[in-house]
């Protein structure tokens, strides 16, 4: 199986110069400038197969955007190799650019005072789409995103969410094979966020497209992504499936128990299985370590008449929080 994306030992530092104001100053700065080095990405490696849904998460300034920019060829890596669809992104070959899309949450690519349709026509010609292909794709996208009625309104009259949709259409009418999305749902209301998530899942299903997205909303990751990359201070600290992540870092399950009127729960006994979060005679909420799940169920079944039992996964937000508090020690101890 050939990999769609191969990143090996990627390093990217920003050398920020003090940009000067004034003509003479800028002329001298052309030749000699004060340097400041910001380490954005240090030694990241991972591989991706076609069709994967990947969530790229980490705190602000962790290096997510920087990594994406290296993957699409906007930034020149300091060292390491990046290969996307067999291309070196920085060469920005036509055939490469036609197969990828980079959706930037806060940037408008659209002509502000013109209807989105005009931008789409420009895209059609730049990507050399046939009229029928263009119409078909555009229709499909407008259906998925419910955008038909906004096509001919000047972009500046659209709401933030509608503009995000317009933006997504710009990037997808040419049916890219890989989709990079940098915080696609930022600033959108809940309904719109859901719409975008559903859309991404659908697009992935229909086109077998690879999707890599960064987000601050764990809901994005939870509902869209199968695989998670966690990055912190420019280093990759987790790479694996969402399921494994929960398995590794969230060793508890939440039990919500209700017993029938004949019985009374034994709090002291319950607390041997895990942390009792709330309790009254008939109900209890307990955080149970995975190892003890079996025992607890056995105990409950043998001793009580169970009216209701609900066993929940902790949500991803909780898991990620745990990752960031525990991962450093684990890395140091080298036992994972």
């Amino acid at each position: 199986m050939t990999k769609t994306i191969k990143v090996a030992n990627l390093v990217k530092n920003y050398i920020t110069y003090e940009k000067n104001t004034g003509f003479l100053a800028s002329l001298t700065s052309f030749f000699h400038r004060k340097k400041k080095i910001v380490k954005a990405v240090s030694d990241i490696s991972f591989e991706v197969e076609q069709g994967e849904l990947i969530g790229f998460i980490g705190p602000n300034g962790a290096g997510k955007t920087t990594t994406l920019k290296c993957l699409v060829g906007l930034l020149y890596p300091d060292s390491g190799t990046v290969s996307v669809l067999g291309f070196n992104p920085f060469e920005r070959k036509k055939e490469f650019l036609k197969q990828i899309a980079f959706v930037m949450g806060r940037k408008a690519q659209l002509y502000w005072d013109l209807p989105a349709m005009e931008t789409y026509m420009l895209v059609r010609d730049m990507y050399q789409l046939s009229e029928s292909e263009f119409k078909k794709n555009l229709n499909e996208l407008c259906d998925l995103l419910d955008f038909h009625k906004y096509l001919n309104r000047p972009v500046r009259t659209l709401s933030l969410g509608q503009r995000m949709k317009a933006e997504i259409i710009t990037n997808l009418v040419y049916k890219p094979k890989i989709l990079f999305l940098d915080e696609p749902t930022i600033g959108l209301d809940v309904v719109m966020q859901d719409a975008i998530r559903d859309f991404l899942l659908n697009y992935n299903k229909i086109n077998k497209a690879t999707i890599i997205l960064t987000s601050h909303y764990m809901e994005d990751i939870e509902s869209v992504c199968d695989r998670i990359l966690i990055i912190d201070h420019g280093k990759l600290i987790y790479d694996g499936s969402k399921f494994d992540l929960k398995f590794k870092y969230a060793r508890e399950k939440e039990f919500n128990i209700r017993v029938s009127y004949k019985h009374k729960l034994d709090k002291a006994r319950l607390s041997q299985f895990g942390k009792v979060l709330s309790y009254d005679a008939k109900t209890a909420r307990i955080l149970v370590d995975k190892d003890k799940v079996n025992n607890l169920i056995k105990y409950l079944v043998e001793n009580y008449d169970i009216a209701d039992l609900d066993i929940k996964e902790p949500d991803i937000k909780y898991v990620i929080k745990k990752v960031f508090t525990s991962v450093k020690d684990e890395v140091d101890n080298n036992n994972y």
Binding site: Y14, I15, T16, Y17, K19, N20, T21, G22, F23, A25, S26, S29, F30, R33, T65, K69, V72, G73, L74, L75, Y76, R92, K94, L97, K98, I100, A101, F102, M104, G105, R106, K107, Q109, Y111, D113, L114, E118, M121, L122, R124, D125, M126, Y127, P154, D182
Partner: protein, 264 residues
Amino acid sequence: MKLIITITKITFSEYLAYRMNFILWRFRNFLYLFFYYNFWTAVYTYQKQVGNYNKQEIFFYFIMSFVITDIVFSSKLFKLASYINSGVLNQYLLYPVSVFKLMTVEEVVDKTFNTFFSLIEILLFIYLFKIEVFLKIDFYYIAVFILSLFCALVLYYFISLCISLLGFWTNSVWAPRFLTFILINSLSGSFFPLDILPKSVFELINALPFSVLVYLPIQILQGKVSLDFALVKISIAFVWVILFFFLSLFMWKKGLKSYTALGV
């Protein structure tokens, strides 16, 4: 080809969207014309001749300089500097068509528009103020004139490209842009014919490439220079074009590597 048509349409739509700006801009140009007209009229009430120019010749000069300045200097290329600084360049870098191709098409469309309107204004002006126009109607002269105009366009394109690319190294391209604009404008002869200056100053300015931008094309059109001389000047200007071309290429390559894709 389709791309060119689409860009033309979009440029046209943009003009419509900003029609008030456009009308004001054209009106400003018309005021300029009017100002020059009065200025030179005043000058020629006291004397019959300024340098090599009688009244009719000077009127022809400033009218032609108006058109040529409009064609050569109307440029949207400076947008590139703000694209670099604001990160809008990112989107252009991700298009499968080079940013230069896109900007050049846009530039040509834009210039065609400007030329069209500027010609209308001029004809209107000539009609309103009953100005007599003398052209050197000779096939070779017209051909060389067109060549010189082309040379002027290309030269100015690469000069402004280089200034825009400074955006990779400085946030304030506005200052150098303004400075060079004023400088090039005056040195190109778009305000007055350069040869009315003292001979030594004139020769100094003429040694620079800028006189090719406005002064030379008009000289050719008026038949004031020999074709041989014009062709020599044009050839030298093309050497400058090549220099600025390589400079811009160098700046682009060097700039992109240090480009931090700022913005988002």
